[in-house]
Symmetry: C2
Subunit: 249 residues, 2 copies
Amino acid sequence: MNPRLQYREGLREPTSAVAPGMTQANLVAVPADWAFEMLLFAQRNPKPCPVLEVLEAGQFESRMAPGSDVRTDLPAYHLWRDGVMVEEMTDGSDLWDGLVTFLIGCSFTFENPLAAAGIPIRHQELGRNVPMYRTNRACVPAGRLHGDLVVSMRPVPADRVADAVTISGRYPAVHGAPVHVGDPSSLGVSLDVPDYGDPPVVKDGELPVFWACGVTPQAALLASKPPFAITHAPGHMFVTDVPDLEYMS
Amino acid sequence: MNPRLQYREGLREPTSAVAPGMTQANLVAVPADWAFEMLLFAQRNPKPCPVLEVLEAGQFESRMAPGSDVRTDLPAYHLWRDGVMVEEMTDGSDLWDGLVTFLIGCSFTFENPLAAAGIPIRHQELGRNVPMYRTNRACVPAGRLHGDLVVSMRPVPADRVADAVTISGRYPAVHGAPVHVGDPSSLGVSLDVPDYGDPPVVKDGELPVFWACGVTPQAALLASKPPFAITHAPGHMFVTDVPDLEYMS
C-alpha cells in the first residue's frame, strides 16, 4: 500500500527505510509574507536547504506525488507558533490556509546508494531515527530568517569515508557531499546528545560523518520566530513517487 | 582597469570576451512584491535561471564583487514598464529604490573552457554579441510570472558536439549542458533572425547548439508585465570577481 495513504489514515513512523529508491522530502510551510525570505534562505544555504518544490498558497498536491496532499500525507507534523514547537500532529488540514509549502531534499535519498556500495547505515540497522545536531555554524541569513546549520550524522568505517563522500556528492539536490568528517566538537556538537532523532552507535574504526540536514529550516524557525509555521517531524518525511536516481548528477 | 569601473564611467560594450576567467551574470531587478515570484520562477526553471545571488531591497553591492554597485557597474541596462522595454541606459542609480536584484548565471562562464578545449566560439571570433532566441517552449510559471524559454546558440563542429555537452555540463550553476542540438525549427526559431544579439555564422559541418539563456527572465517580464523592472541589456553583463572555476561541479 502507498505509504502516503497509510500516513493519511494516521500511521506514525519514521520514514528512513520506507519505499526504498523513492525520494523523500523535508517539509516547511510558512505564511505567504515569509515565503520570499524562506526561499531566499534556501537559495543562500543550498546544502542544508535544497528546494525540490514549492507549493504556492492554496496548492496541496505535490507534482512529485500525484494524488498527494501535503497537509495529511506525512506521518507526523510539528506546529510552530512564534518560534516555539507547540504541538505534534498527524493531520494539518485545518491549519494550512494561506501557507506556502517548501519541499526540501533529504539525505535519505543517498542512503540507498551508500548501502548498495556496502557502507553500513547504522540507524537503519538499529531501526532508529538518524541522529541530527544543531551546530555552531551560522547559516547565511535572509531578511528576518536566520539560524544555525543542522547536520545529520552517519558513522562510516575509515576506509569507506572517501567512498561515502564520492557517492553522496553525486546527489547535490539532496545535500550532496558531507560538510564535515570527524571531530564533533569543532561543530559544537556532542555525539551522544543529538538535538533531533536517536543517539548514535559509533563502532571502533568508524568516523562520524556529518551531512547538511533539511531540519535546518526548523532551527531557523526556532531562532527567527515567525508567528506560525508547520514542518514535518524530524525523520518523518514526505515520501514522493520520484526515483532517487532522478537526483543523481 | 577593472571593467566595472569603466562601465560605471559610461563605457558601453558587450562583455563576452571581457575579464576572461571571471564569472559574468545576468541581472533582473523587480519591485519587492514581485520578488517571491521571480525567485520561485527561477527555482522552477533552473536551467535558464540559475540564481547566483539575490540582493535584497536597499542592497547594491554584490558579494561576488566587493566595491561594486549593481546600479551603475553594467555597461547597459534596459528599463521596463508594464512589460515594455522603454529605455536603454548606462546608469540606473535614480530608479533602484525598493527593487530586489537577481544575479543569474551566464553561459559566458563556460565559453572559456570550451575555447580552451579547441571548440570555436564564433561570436567571439567575429567580435559580435552571441545570438539569442525566444523559443516555443514555455517555462514553468510562478504566480503572475510566465514566459517562454530563451536560448543562446553557438555553432559547434559535429565532431565536437559531445565535448561541448560534456564541458558545459560541468557548470550546472551557469546553464549547464545544452537544451537542444540541431534543428532550430523544432524550437520555433529561425537561425538568421535572433531575438537578441547578432545574427550567427554557421559553417559547413557545424551544428547549432542551444543553451538555456539568462535572458529568459526578460521574456517573462515581456509576457507578464510587472509595472516596473530593470535588466541588463542582453550581452552586457555584470562582470564579477569570482573565478569561473568556482562554478565547476
